[in-house]
Structure formats: C-alpha cells, structure tokens
Symmetry: C4
Subunit: 198 residues, 4 copies
C-alpha cells in the first residue's frame, strides 16, 4: 500500500484553489454606474449570496485545515479525492452568482444545493480515504467519531433541493442552518488533540 | 482551551487571498481602445484609487505578517477571526473600482471608508483573539502596547465617512493620512523582538 | 554544474499558477439570465470541456507533485523548463473555452490537442532536465523507467489533432483515453519509494 | 537595526502575486467566436505580447527566487521594497494587453517600456536594501558584483521608450534583447554558492 507523500503540497495547492474560489466570487459584484448609496440596493441579493458562500467556503477550508493537521501522510488516491472536492467547490462561484443575480429563484437555489451536496459528499469521501490509510484507531478516526453532522448535512441538502421549488424561504433557511451547524466544526479534532496531550 | 494549530497554513491561506485581492484590482484598469498617451488620462482616478488600495492591502499584509510572526499557535476561533478580516478586505477591489470609476464621488468614497473601517475593526478583533490565547504578558501584547494607532484609525474613518458628503478632498485626505501613519507599522513588533534578544 | 536551489519555492510557485489555471476556467461558465434548469442546457458542452481540462490539469499537478517529491534539488535550467511547462498549461483555459463554446468544433478541438501536445513535450523536457541533474541511477530515473506512457501520449495527440477535422468524436475520444491512462500516474514513483524503504 | 523576519512568507506572498500576474494575462486572449484556425490570426500580436511578458515575469520570478535564496532575513523596509516591485509588475498585464491589442502601437509600446523601467528600478532598490542588511561582504553582494546587467537594462529601456515613437521595430527589439540577456540570470548566484561550497 503506497502512502508516501507528505501533506504540505496538498495543503498548499488546496489553499491556493480555495483562496481563488473565495476571492473571485467578489468579481460578480458588478460595480454600479450610479454614485448614490441606493445604487447598492440591487446588489443586496448578490451580496447576501456572496456572504453565504464565503462562509461555506470558509467552513470547508477550516475543516480541511483541521483534518489535514492530523494527517501525517497521503497517497495518490487522496490527491484525487481532494481534487474531486476542489472541483465541486470550484462551481460554487458560478451557482452563487446565478442564485444572487436572480434573487434566489427556485432553479438556481436548487442547483446551489446540489453543488453543496456534491461538495459535502466529496468531503466525506476524502475523509474516508484518509482514515483508510491511517486506520480506524487513528486520531482522526476517533475525532470524527460517528460523524453525525457529516451524515446529517447531505440529508438536509436533499430536503432543501426540492423544497426550493415549493418555498424559497424554507430552502434558503436550510442552507443557512447547515452553515451555522458547521461554524464551530473543529472542536472534535482540537478536543481529540488536547486529550492526547494529557 | 484548545490552541493546537500551527500558523503556517493560516499564513499561507491569507497570503493567497491577499495576493489575489491586491492583483485583481488591476483588472479594473480597462485597456483603452485609443493608442495615444492621452487615452490614459481618463484612467487617472482609477489608477489613483488603485495605488491607495494597493498601499492599504500592503499595510494589512505587512502587519498581518508581523503579528503572525510572533504568534506560535492558533485555534479555530482565530481562523474565523482571520476569515472575517479577509472578508472585508475582499470587498476592497469592489469599492476601489466604484470610487475610481466615479472620480471619488461622495457615496463611493463613504462606502470605501466603511469597508476600511470594518477591516480595521476585524483586524483589532483578530489581534485580541490572538492575545487572548497568548496572554497579556506575551511578546505580541507588549509590542502592541496601548495601541494608539489601532484606536485612532477607526475614529478617523468614522470622521471621514460623513465628511465624504461635505468635502471629498478632506475625506480622501483622511484616508491618505491614515495610510501614511501605518506605512511604518511594524517597528513595534521588531523593536520588541530586538529587546527580547538582548 | 550548479545545482543549488531547493524545490520548495518551485513547487509553491507551480502550485499557485496551476491553482489559478484550474480555477479561472470556471469563469468561462457564463451565468445564465434565465432562471429555469433548462437554462443550463446550453452550458453542457462548456461544462464538459471544463471537466476534461480540470482532469488534465489535475493530472499535471499530481504528476508534478510526485516528480518533485523525489527531486532533492534544482538549478536555473529546471526553473525555466518548469516555466515552459506552465506557459503551455496557461493556454489550457483559452483553448478549453474556445472548444466548449463552439461545441467541440474541428479547429478548436485540434488546437486543444496542440496545446496538450506541447504541454506533454514540456513535461518530458522538465523530467529529462531533472534526471540529468540527478543521474540515470536516481530514484526518479528508475521510477520513470522506459516511460512508455510518456512516449505514447504525444503520439496519440499527434493522431488526434488531424483526426479532429475528420471525426470530432474519435478525436475527442482520444483526449479522454489519454486522460484516463494518466489518472493513476503515480504508482511508479510510489512503488519505487516503497521498494527503497524495504 | 531591526532585521528579524524570515523570508518564507515574503517568498510565498511574492510567489502568489507573481503567479496571478503571469496567469491573468492569458485572460486577455479573447476567445474567438469563429471556429476556423484563421480566427486565431488576429490574436497573433496579443499572443506575441503575452509571450514577451510571460518571459519577463518569469525572469523576475527566477531572479527573485535566486536573490531570496541567499537572503537569510529581512525587515519591514524590505517588505515594502518588495511590495513596490510587485506594484510595477502588477501593471504588466495592463500594458501587455494595451500593446498587444493595438499591434504594438507607439504609445502602448513606450508605456510598456516605462513599466519595465520602473520594475527594473524597483528590483535594484530591493536588492540594495537586502544587501544593506547583509553587508557588502555577503554572498549576495559578491554574487551581484558590479552588476553590469542591472545597470545596463534601465539605460536600454530609457533608449527604447522614445524610440517607440520613431521605430516600433527597434523599440520592440530592445525589449526582446534585454529579456534575452536576462534569460540566464542566475549563474552569478549559483556560481557564488558553488564557490563557497569548495
């Protein structure tokens, strides 16, 4: 079983891609021609979708950071599981813009949820691959535990996607709620590390 | 109190985002169709706003660099305080373009100040969180000291924002002055380090 | 023979450029104005070309990662061989967009193959230069071996380029096949490393 | 004299900015609507200017890499000298596009030379600041030596700028010649390092 690469370059490349994803989203904020503060009003939904996606990308980066922090080494398959995750994240700016420019219309809202769902699945696959190398007894495996949050999020996305065609408010609220549950995602790994140091 | 992560990836990610922010601003410089030197004249205000924002982003990067240099370790909350700072900085290209393309009109000028104000507050929050981990006796806490400059800048921004609707020259001058006061920002940390080495 | 530089900065710079290349391709996905799911239909060929190029860039990054992992030091010539590779990769977003927006028309398809061919040649040159420094007995040289895959790919591209003007399906299929042969590219290096550890 | 920071973050940030500069230039290659190979013909001057600027940015990166490789530590002033260099380099995509889209017309060609001149001066300033910290006896100072090439380049730019209004071919040729003289820039530092190892 080849497991020979360090994680530094995987982290550096992921940091680069995630940094670009989080930053190019702001390019969708078209500069208004008018010079009154009210010229910013039409941008409010674009801005709201930017904030939501910024937080989601931030969550992925923070979790990725914590996970790789307790990952000593990787192999080729992990590189591709990671590229798979970055692929879905790279679509976030596109769906964010589509959603924001159309005031959270049903189809863009559902597509947004689909991309989040695929990114969530890609993250779980990456996590599984890393644990497969390290063993079920590793720090990461113990920190993740039964991973209730990781299992709940896809279910919520799957609920939110069709809901977008019924009520945009409920669908959007689910995306916000999932984000909120992840905003303090890393305590598990930090706690496991602290426990180990005792 | 979990405080387990090193700072290298926080620095790498911040470097990536700040590098992109400082570089994509130049995309706002629309290439003129004419081929005379005078075709550059309409770009002068866009260019002036680019220089000002380049210096501001440079100041943030330089200060961030110095602060993290004396920060041995961080935890999840610091990651989010840092993302919060990057969020406000990511809006700088947008307000820079709006301000530059409209010859420093009042509303864009005030909005520019608002983003600077929020970035300044985000920086102070980040600094506080890092000091909270390290303790009031740490090198960083001693280097920052009473932090007069950090307290004065928000006050100056708060003055500059409404002033934009009265006199654009005074408002713009305040932004330039704040930038100038920060251009040599790091002596405190460097001096504290030098003192420690004695 | 000067061979004095470490590889960390070469890797970091390449990571940066490759991360940007892989991410800016998504900017070609123009946000639809309509808000129905069918508004995404015209984007299917653009999206398909994005996936293909994402995989190709991912292959280059993964291989580059493995190759540099067993490269202890480089010199000026390697920096330029690497920049030469990055130059051809930087053209991938352009040909990807041309190909995708024109439903894989013949000329864009052939041009796409030409850029892949040149990138492939540039990669072989880079590999040769690194082996020249390390010697034919090095881990990398032994891992690469006769490098059948590296020699076959350019031949397949050279076949695919004129074929684009005859049958776009066959030409496109060749690009997909080459990508598939490289998707598990790194076992050679990982195996050589594993063998060494015994 | 405070000289306390390591160079790793300065290098990482510069790598990020330079990687973005070198990559966003390709965004100026507008995707043609036609699908014939002849649709690429109007892009030839844009492409030629892209190649020239890619090489120039590559030269700066390679030289920067070599210089920082023999620089053990920096201080605040060096950070700003480096930001000053990055500022002028960040204008290269703008002048490259202006020059390429206008078939190397006189004013864009002269402006291109002006930006190269300022970047060259900024590089010399950065070099001086680093040597000032390390001392005239340092490896870098000895490797640079009398720095004939560094002194000749600005003179050639100053000749090329007004020449653009007389003969675009001569002016452009000078830019190419300066680039060629720098394509093997690093032997000095590599030789100095090799000499030291004896």
């Amino acid at each position: 079983m080849p497991a020979v690469l360090g994680t530094s370059r995987l982290e550096a490349f992921s940091d680069g891609v995630i940094a670009i994803i989080i930053t190019i989203m702001v390019l969708e904020l078209d500069v208004p021609h008018a010079t009154t503060l009210s010229a910013l009003t039409p941008l409010v939904p674009v801005f709201a979708s930017y904030i939501l996606s910024f937080i989601y990308i931030g969550i992925y980066w923070s979790n990725h950071h914590h996970m790789l922090h307790v990952t000593p080494r990787v192999e080729g398959g992990v590189l591709w599981a990671n590229l798979h995750l970055l692929f879905w994240l790279s679509l976030v700016p596109f769906v964010t813009a589509w959603m924001g420019e159309n005031h959270f219309a049903a189809a863009p809202l559902a597509t947004y949820g689909f991309v989040l769902l695929m990114a969530g699945i890609a993250y779980v696959i990456l996590q599984q691959r890393i644990i497969a190398i390290q063993g079920e007894d590793s720090l990461l495996a113990r920190a993740i535990g039964p991973d209730l949050k990781g299992k709940l999020s896809p279910i919520l996305y799957i609920i939110a996607i069709p809901t977008a065609f019924v009520s945009r408010w409920i669908s959007g609220a689910i995306y916000v709620i999932v984000a909120l549950t992840w905003l303090v995602p890393d305590r598990r790994i930090e706690r496991a590390l602290a426990a180990q140091e005792l």
